[in-house]
């Protein structure tokens, strides 16, 4: 047997041994683990550990060092690895830059491939939806009902309806993401109102496709890649020079994959676009002469996918924009940047863990004395809103984009 034949033979046995070789973009992540000094600093900061303890969720360090086991044994981590919300706090505080949230994805990918029976059932259900509809949520069966729901939401928020815009020479693409497309439709509408107000030449996609983040988090790499490939084709066909989103998860994920897959156009959260492209002067002018409204104290929640998967400075933008609105006072929560529990697909199979994570935040939110919580992510909005409601809190919750749209002058 020649050396080459031997190599091919060994490669052929990997499947039987339940080993998937690391892909090129996984290698740097795997290498980062070798820098781990096993100090455990990350455990002190992990919001899941804080909520349920190391006995239920053994924490980021243990996930990082699982890699020292042989790959066929990845399945042995299945009772822990699905409890990570992917907030990225461990990676941020790590003195050695170990990319623990990506290790989670790498391990989940192997479990999905070799032991799909150990993947929580709730995640298989999401996967079915993704594969059938290219969306993370089952789309509305009746478009009329979808439109009615949208109108009800707009009416409640006193927002006008701006028609969808599909043009061929647009500068930017507005990508609402699955949550705003199918569920929190008011976020999608609010973004259109804002873009329209500032005269931005934007377009929407004819056919919404999920950014692939849920599939990545489930560990289904094939589905994640087929979604992002379709999305890449559709986005590049529009000829835009930039993608704008209102979802923190989409922002983080699209920033990551557009670089990985060489899209050659950047993805930004709408907040970044407003501050960097529209500019503070125009924002100040529009928000300063906005609709008369009562004074309001708000508190802000920082979505992990913006702060720890894109960049912390985006939330500084959020505060700068809020400071332009007359009558709005910000009261900071002590846990403003602590995970809401809505990430990592945890709520799809272990809602008790997801809700335990957010429960600490609820106490801190109540302590701010704010009447309203705003956050630039429809997923955080939904998670915090439902938990505040269940806890009997009087604090109302709005997506920050909706809040900004409400503060613009009515034309």
């Amino acid at each position: 047997m020649s050396e080459e034949e031997a190599y091919e033979f060994v490669k052929g046995t990997l499947k039987k041994e339940r080993i998937t070789p690391y892909t090129e973009d996984e290698i740097p992540v795997i290498n980062s683990v070798s820098a781990c000094i096993n100090c455990g600093l990350c455990i002190n900061h992990c919001p899941v550990v804080a909520a349920v303890g190391v006995d239920v969720f053994s924490g980021p360090r243990s996930i990082a060092v699982e890699l020292s086991r042989s790959p066929p044994e990845y399945w042995a981590t299945a009772d822990k690895v699905y409890l990570c919300t992917g907030c990225g706090t461990c990676r941020e505080v790590c003195p050695k830059n170990v990319d623990i949230p990506e290790v989670v994805n790498i391990v989940r990918r192997r479990i999905f491939e070799h032991r799909p029976d150990l993947v929580p059932k709730g995640l298989h259900a999401v996967r079915e939806t993704l594969r059938t509809h290219n969306l993370a949520f089952e789309p509305w069966a009746d478009i009329k009902e979808k439109n009615e729901s949208r109108e009800m939401r707009l009416e409640r928020l006193e927002l006008p309806l701006v028609p969808d815009r599909h043009v061929s020479d647009a500068e930017v693409l507005f990508y609402p993401g699955c949550q705003a497309e199918e569920r929190s439709q008011e976020v999608r509408e609010a973004a259109k109102i804002i873009l329209d107000h500032f005269g931005v030449n934007y377009t929407l996609l004819e056919d919404m496709t999920c950014c692939g983040l849920p599939a990545r988090l489930i560990g289904d790499d094939a589905t994640a890649r087929s979604l992002t490939e379709k999305l890449k084709r559709d986005v590049l066909a529009t000829g835009v020079r930039k993608v704008l989103t209102t979802c923190a998860g989409c922002t983080g994920n699209l920033s990551h994959i557009s670089e990985r897959d060489h899209w050659d156009i950047p993805t930004q959260h709408l907040l970044e676009f407003l501050v960097e492209d529209v500019g503070m002067e125009r924002l100040a002018e529009s928000l300063g002469k906005g609709t008369k409204h009562e004074d309001v104290t708000v508190t802000v929640h920082d979505p992990c996918h913006l702060t720890r998967h894109a960049s912390r400075h985006i939330m500084d933008y959020a505060l700068e924009i809020l400071s332009l609105i007359p009558g709005v006072r910000v009261s900071a929560s002590a846990l403003h940047d602590s995970c809401c529990g809505g990430g990592g697909m945890v709520s799809y199979h272990s809602s008790e863990v997801a809700n335990a994570v957010v429960s600490e935040n609820l106490v801190a939110i109540d302590a701010t004395g704010a009447e309203r919580l705003v956050t630039p992510c429809p997923l955080c909005t939904a998670q915090i809103e439902s938990n505040l409601f269940k806890a009997g809190s009087s604090v109302e919750v709005d997506d920050l984009i909706v809040f900004i749209a409400q503060m613009l002058p009515k034309e």
Binding site: G40, L41, A50, V54, D55, P95, G252, H256, S311, H313
Partner: protein, 461 residues
């Protein structure tokens, strides 16, 4: 993406946060870039200033004495350099250095006073801190919840109770009691009546596999200290304890008030032991310093690290930072490098030598020999824990009298880059027990130098 500030501090440990706070208090616009958490977050809760002189095996009597000798005998020690901005008359060095360290310590104590990491102690005497291993060490300041009681040493009838938490593996009260008793007998000190026990604190309902941070968070919640008091009362009664030593888990926010609540309810003296890193007191210190900095008006950019820089003539004009998926260019007029050593990420070492990460500055050993091509293993002692320590910990950059890193010719690398903390070479914080003291003093001084520099620039324009 571009940002602009007057002073940019690179590094968010104690040195950087002190430099940033002090500069902001002087009226400068400050931005601090912090990648993650470094050595400060590993701190045990003890704030060392100077415990041993370099190469000495006996501790100094107190920091005042230690600093006085240091200023006379070790002119290249960071304490000495920080203290000598201007010509000091021969013989006056000690007074200058003492005054500077004293000013720094008083300033920091004041700024941390309302935080969970409030400090107790002063330069006139070193405190004896007790650890979870039952050993003791000299330190200058301690977090208020961690001060063990000096009176204890003189009380023949005192009974010290080491109380562990069932299921919390980082503290074995039985072993600590044994080690501590042996030390007391050998040194003929009190208390010599030592007991130990395990109490139940169950943050998630179980009494196994519990981490310190869980207990601390649990004890922050209102009411949970009462059940700990009830548990302790049984053993205090049984042993007639006068003092109780707990692991450092009394709270992230409320450790001090929890200590006071326990003392009031139980009629004994209570304190936390120093823990192994990364401990809850380290978390309290890091959080408190960040709070101090933000309250001074400084801006904080977390999760970014500096990846490149731009010079114009002999001045540094901007750096490029990288976050998870965004890059930002930051221009400033003055810069402070406070990136730490090997843990903080300011230095890296491999077989080819020791490298300063951000600007590729000249690195030197503790003896001020170039470390750029010296393998760190040559400055590493084979004995992991030795009284002489690991010489590699004295590596860093060499600085001029303005704390500016220097080139091979001894002149500053650039006019507007100052440095603070353990990136500075020439002292071994681990053997000297001087880590946080040097970090605070050089951070404080770097801010003063920045102010002087900016004033000079403004006058010349």
């Amino acid at each position: 993406m571009h940002m602009e500030t007057e002073v940019l501090v690179i590094g968010g440990g104690l040195a950087g946060l002190v430099a940033g706070t002090r500069a902001a208090e002087a009226g400068h616009r400050v931005l601090l870039v912090q990648k993650g958490h470094g050595a400060t977050a590993y701190s045990s809760g003890a704030f060392d200033v100077i415990g041993y002189l370099p190469d000495a095996l006996e501790p100094v009597a107190n920091p005042v004495e230690g600093l006085s000798v240091l200023a006379q005998v070790y002119p290249l020690h960071p304490y000495s350099i920080a203290g000598f901005p201007v010509d000091v008359e021969s013989g006056g060095e000690s007074a200058v250095v003492l005054a500077l360290v004293s000013e720094t310590v008083e300033w920091l104590k004041d700024r941390l006073d309302k935080t969970p990491a409030a400090l107790s102690g002063g330069l006139d005497s070193n405190l004896v801190a007790m650890t979870v291993l039952g050993t003791t060490k000299p330190t200058c300041l301690l977090q208020k919840s961690m001060v063990s009681i000096p009176e204890m040493e003189g009380e023949e009838d005192g009974v010290l109770l080491f109380a562990g938490v069932r299921g919390y593996a980082d503290f074995a009260p039985g072993a600590a009691a044994k080690v501590f008793l042996r030390d007391r007998m050998m040194n003929k000190k009190y208390p010599q009546k030592i007991a130990h026990c395990q109490v139940r604190v169950s943050p998630s309902g179980t009494d196994y596999n519990i981490s310190g941070v869980e207990i601390a968070r649990h004890l922050d919640h209102p009411g949970s200290i009462d059940s700990l008091a009830k548990e302790l009362a049984v053993y205090i009664d049984q042993f007639g304890a006068t003092d109780v030593a707990l692991p450092p888990v009394l709270g992230i926010q409320n450790a001090i008030s929890n200590k006071e609540a326990l003392e009031e309810r139980l009629g004994v003296r209570v304190f936390e032991l120093l823990g192994l890193p990364p401990s809850v007191p380290g978390l309290r210190l890091q959080n408190s310093l960040e709070q101090m900095y933000l309250e001074s008006g400084g801006a904080l950019l977390r999760g970014h690290e500096v990846v490149s820089y731009t010079m114009e003539g002999d001045r540094l004009i901007s750096v490029q930072t990288k976050g998870p998926s965004r890059e930002i260019q930051i221009s400033a007029q003055a810069f402070v490098l406070a990136t730490g050593k090997f843990i903080g990420g300011g230095l890296s070492g491999d077989k080819d030598g020791v490298r300063e990460i951000v600007f590729d500055l000249m690195s030197v050993t503790g003896e001020f020999v170039s470390a750029e091509e010296a393998s760190p293993s040559r400055s590493t002692s084979k004995l992991a824990v030795s009284p002489l320590g690991q010489p590699v910990l004295s590596n860093g950059v060499s600085v001029d009298s303005f704390l500016r890193p220097v080139k091979r010719n001894g002149l500053e690398w650039t006019t507007n880059l100052f440095s603070a903390g353990s990136i500075i070479a020439g002292y071994n914080y681990a053997t000297e027990k001087s880590g946080l003291g040097v970090a605070a003093t050089t951070g404080y001084t770097a801010a003063l130098r920045v102010t002087e520099y900016l004033k000079e620039v403004a006058q010349n324009e």
